[in-house]
Symmetry: C2
Amino acid sequence: MANSDRFVNQIADIDADYTKWYTDVCLKSELCDYGPVKGTMVFRPYGYAIWERIQQEADKRFKAYGVKNAYFPMLIPQSFLMREAEHVEGFAPEVATVTHVGETELAEKLVLRPTSETVIGNMYSKWIGSYRDLPLKLNQWANVVRWEKTTRPFLRTSEFLWQEGHTVFATPEEANADALEMMGVYKDIANNVLALPVLTGRKSEKEKFAGAVATYGMEAMMKDGKSLQAGTTHYLGDNFARAFDIKFLDKDGAHKYAYQASWGISTRLIGAVIMAHGDARGLCLPPPVAPVQAVVVPIGAGKNPQVGEKAREIAQKLETAGLRVELDERDLSPGFKFNHWELRGVPVRVELGARDIEAGAVTVCRRTDGQKTQIAIDDCAQKIAGMMDEITADMYGKAEAFTRAHVVATSSLGDMEKALDGGNFCDAYWCGDRGCEDKIKQLYAATSRVYHADQSDAHEHKCVCCGKKAKHRIYFARAY
Amino acid sequence: MANSDRFVNQIADIDADYTKWYTDVCLKSELCDYGPVKGTMVFRPYGYAIWERIQQEADKRFKAYGVKNAYFPMLIPQSFLMREAEHVEGFAPEVATVTHVGETELAEKLVLRPTSETVIGNMYSKWIGSYRDLPLKLNQWANVVRWEKTTRPFLRTSEFLWQEGHTVFATPEEANADALEMMGVYKDIANNVLALPVLTGRKSEKEKFAGAVATYGMEAMMKDGKSLQAGTTHYLGDNFARAFDIKFLDKDGAHKYAYQASWGISTRLIGAVIMAHGDARGLCLPPPVAPVQAVVVPIGAGKNPQVGEKAREIAQKLETAGLRVELDERDLSPGFKFNHWELRGVPVRVELGARDIEAGAVTVCRRTDGQKTQIAIDDCAQKIAGMMDEITADMYGKAEAFTRAHVVATSSLGDMEKALDGGNFCDAYWCGDRGCEDKIKQLYAATSRVYHADQSDAHEHKCVCCGKKAKHRIYFARAY
């Protein structure tokens, strides 16, 4: 074992420096690395494998929902971006622009897509002619570029990977319903694939997507009490239909503008998984997306060849049971290996030594809570496979309890400051004025996240900021 | 039925105008469309679904071969491209360059990857330290940008989708062996997934990848006798290792440059499938990649509700048997529907009318040869599912016979001209001089494709062009 290897697992203290802990975990578990251009990142195999599983789970759900995949060009004429006033205002400062090919200057500047409403709108205007062409539901898996000043792996990078769904309907009601239903699909993915509890709801005008009528978001609480926007869906009204002339001949013989929705989740979700589930030892991955679900660690195989043999047999059994398995036969100490796989967040460690073999059992250790159990070798494969759903549910439960414990009812700015500084979300009533949002942001660096699911008593309360009559119940939080 | 629908299937005559036939098939079968920026294309759902199947089949094979997926940034510092002399010469004229973000000019110009040897080389130099880090085999699925003057959907577009594998080894032998083995994997995909016969072999110095020591190619013959380069693998020697300082500490304690290979297949393969298998009626898709493998067409369902009912039942059975099925219940004539699905190349059409029901059978028609058979309803699902492999094999056989019939032995420039004008590949002997390749290109617009598998008697022959002693047996052809 090289001397340098011994320090691989050293990550910053999660309680003392959460920011450094995050970066350490990202780099030292080999999820990712920094790219050569500032603000870019490399998805290393271990990180990309998580994304592949998220893709599979999401794609399956989209297809079941009647969505088809397509692929649109990354290069968009600069003029397209200008057609929707809010859209250009929101995205222009951060778009990368291609001006030359080889030595030749292009006649029209091209932007790298920051999102594809415009280029897709342009195609939809060609493809849609009649009510029979609707609804149209397409999705693309793609890279997008948004130049950000402050970047962090997975959370905010110049280029990131995502999916963007773009749907078209004959009526506003259907388009808005699509945005809401897709938020349901995203919540299902967050809860059941990533074990992430999320708060979902509409966003304020200030926080909505540039060009949308309404944006719905899902917000996940990280371990520092900050919020991470983990997915958004947008009801676009006929804003882009008017900008790109997407019209159809309706049953009644009239030509009408179509109504649209769009929705996206991205590689940010990996950042959410790291920060919501990780602990002092590193990553803690939910089994549905863990590239390795179980690692088999033989103990003392050097002295006892039977141990290695049995370990290989067990690893094989686990694979046959459908698990993603790693067998760690390296000539390193068990302690080193334990750290190595804990840092990488493998849900289950299967230890096997001479004493275990004598007892006809393996020792199984759950990453999420360190719980150890002895399981008979004969049915360990089935039992360990069965543990995966339990672990996902336990991880969700733990994160959900944490989130619940860190949402604080606040009825004054003083309450709010205290709650935010204590690492909490604020459950607040708000008058609906942008001025109050701006003030809260300026004072406490917190933003409105999503409307509370229960708006029934909003009008009986006063705004947390200005004290005027409240219009909405809404969450405020500091956010990534 | 709208009047305009009746003309949807009108495509150019494949024998009279193969070029227009190709474009018509691409657009009218809704595989793709042109993007708003010249030279870009849109993958519509039907075309993208073919790519998804190619991806699945390839990815499975790569993983079985020990390759892991990763993702590297699309934006590459312009200076990186300059580090390998041949590489920059080959790619500089066609790279798109990002100079601005918003209104701000970037300090260093960035290029959109035309291929990723440079940015990946930069990361490999960070990650590789010891012989224990080797071999390293990564792949990425990505978009790349190469600005081409003349573009055609799938075959040559400014942006295209591909996979690029980048592998690193301790020795030249291993790296070269990797390039050869991956060519075997590509050939397997071409033959067994796409039913495409291919000629594989090394490429000439003139035709090799910019920066490689050796390039191996697979060439597929299209129906006009032109060749389509369907995949390439490259042995890179230590060219990029020297340019990016990829060194490792070997077992013997010496620091050494690593040796690399890279390999790629792209959405071009869809163009190959269209042109190698298509016919006067349109597309003809090999079952492994067909988005729809069987279409069920009820005949006279309007008059007889039992027909519709039975058709739904059969479609359900076919799906249960694992097929990708479409049930066409539209209120359109059977003839229209037949054309519609023939244009789209669906491998099997299942017709069901009142008379079929009486006979307890369906009529099954194979797209590849129009062969019709009656199959008892009771076991039609199993039988039709079983036909898929047969159809793939038959399509391969047909294309293979065509290719064999259109490779002509040529021993003079006169032979060559005649062979090329007759829509053939030339099986020729060549002295190995670039001057002869240049002359053949200038005279006949043909290029050397790949070395013949049998080089045993090359030295006994004379060069097809200059008449000097030959060094190689090689194929010349016009190419896409």
